[in-house]
Amino acid sequence: MILNGSEILVNVLLEQGVDTVFGYPGGAVLNIYDALYKYRDQIHHYMTAHEQGAAHAADGYARSTGKTGVVIATSGPGATNLVTGIATAYMDSVPLVAITGNVSTPLIGCDSFQEVYIAGITMPITKHNFVVRKVEDLADTLREAFRIASSGRPGPVLVDIPKDVTAERTTYTPAPRTDLHERTTDVVGNVEEIAELINRAERPFVYFGGGVRLSGASEELRQVLLTADIPAAYTLMAAGALKYGERNNLGLMGMHGCYSANCAANRADVLIAIGTRFSDRVALNTSKFGHNAKIVHIDIDSGEINKNIIADYSILGDVKAVLNEMMKYIKPAKHDSWFAQIEKWKEEDYHPTDSEEVLKPHQVIETACRVAGEDAIFVTDVGQHQMWAAQYLHHVKPMNFLTSGGLGTMGYGYGAAIGAQIANPEVPVVHFTSDGSLHMNMNELCTAVSYGVPVITVILNNAVLGMVRQWQGVFYGQRYSSSEPERVTDYVKVAEAFGGKGFRCKNPAEFEEAMKLAMKEKGPVWIECEIDREEKVLPMIPAGGTVHDTIFN
């Protein structure tokens, strides 16, 4: 079959099982968009307000489904607008294929109109990238891009295609799908010896991260924890991998994690880190983190072993395969006195107080969670509201909490929520944001309106950049430099002006009512929640600190 490059591109997308793409047209991708028009019955293209929103939408689509997200942008500014979205996906190991147009091959290197060397720009923020110079290479390059993005530790792959390559014609030969999300079954390490270490432990503790979610290993993890009677805590990337309220699930750990979880990590005699990378938001002080414990590190990425902390033992492999192997050697145990100690720490933890008169952040989160229900997907932006959502949502599903953990991208939320809603039209999608983050990408409201995407955006409006201001309050002598912007944005009017719906709430009763009304809407809704600017995310361990430095008020 003789096809042009653009038709080949679309056919390879179909080979890979892609039926949804996000993007924004432009000069260098006109041929691609012409092919998308031709195949519009088989592939739905969602156009956003800005390419960054499209990249985040593809990311939200990927995180909420486990499939590979696809985003398309034109050359030059179209491509550079993807950069933050690609970097966000890279830091959180999200499978994403970004396709950028470029100027025609003879114009490359001439500083042509809308030319940028996007392969060079994205080199450090992609798992791999390609520049396709011949139409004959296009199909196989795209297939390789999908294979790389979805295999091993997933990540974004960028394919840059000059405009002439999208027009030239060649033979297209269909091929099998390469987007297989292959999970390796290889396990490298002395699993039996490590299981013995765990069997002998008196105060074992598991700290797990996004690898558990990516590997689909919730059940395997639960089996190990229940059999060996081990308490566990999760990083931001693994919220929902265990259910809220499970006996072994202590909650979030790290800078704003549960005091009990951080104490347990500190006191454990064997600390088992599963599918996680000892980031500076969890292992805040690498020389003291888990210092009473033998540290076991299980990860699929060899580069993570001994990167941030030196592990006493390590196992290389997909979490699911490793835990299945480990279960063969794990013996039933009971650690009642260890759990009793943890219960004491729980009592000493920070507990927020409710109010009926004013909106407290934890009540907003809990109410939204209750009204939206168990199946809802929750998406956040970045800042205080993100941490409150991580702390107070009752996470029960591994793919239902989408947040920019590694890069911490303010403005991630709206695009990601739209992508998640498009991928999951049957479930409610709640987007928690703040006045700071929403101002970064609020333009995507027009996308939600155009496509009738009923994302509920809950704005925790404290009229300041809360997290920046919290740090300035604690560490910078209350010198609130550029964190109190004095904005007068009327969120209800903005929502309405874009064609959406807006509510404003001042107390819990009003908020619950607004949430219930929003759940019935067929299009996007914004709910503005006024909260006090002095609200802080607590507890908090300062950067570089230990659990002994925990701040409770």
């Binding site: 392969a119 080199m123 450090p124 798992k127 791999h128 060899s302 580069g303 030196i310």
Partner: protein, 165 residues
Amino acid sequence: MKKQCMVILVENNSGVLARVSSLFMQRGFNIDSLTVSSTENPKISRITVMTTGDQKIFSQILKQTGKLVETKMIFSVEPSFSLIRELLLVKFGTDHGNIEALKQIIEDFGANIIDMTNGCFVIELSASSEKIDDFLEATEAFEMIEMCRSGAIAMERGKVSYDIG
């Protein structure tokens, strides 16, 4: 801090050097010298990199560089089982100084005079990095006009084969 020589066998694609050097820069790995060349296999290029660091850094270099899609193989070169060579070109003027003494040093180090033009002579020396350093120290007193040296290249002794498909 130690010096370490590493060999990276990569796909012979355009941009692969940029990818490797970008990774070194991104992660703060040191490059003392770097050499890229073709190999017996036209699909494979060989990058030899001299780096400075500790065991933790060397281990990270091996793992992170090994993860690059275009990296087929990476290994540390063990000096006792390998030959590591750099090439030195250095130009001396002959107007002053004891030329006979210089010629003696050249002979002692096994260096060659490869050009004499306009009262200058160019010397080449292929040797280990340390020996080249020693040679430059030994010739410090003479009128050096220009100097350049290549990065290291390395090869293991005996029969070693790389099964990289």
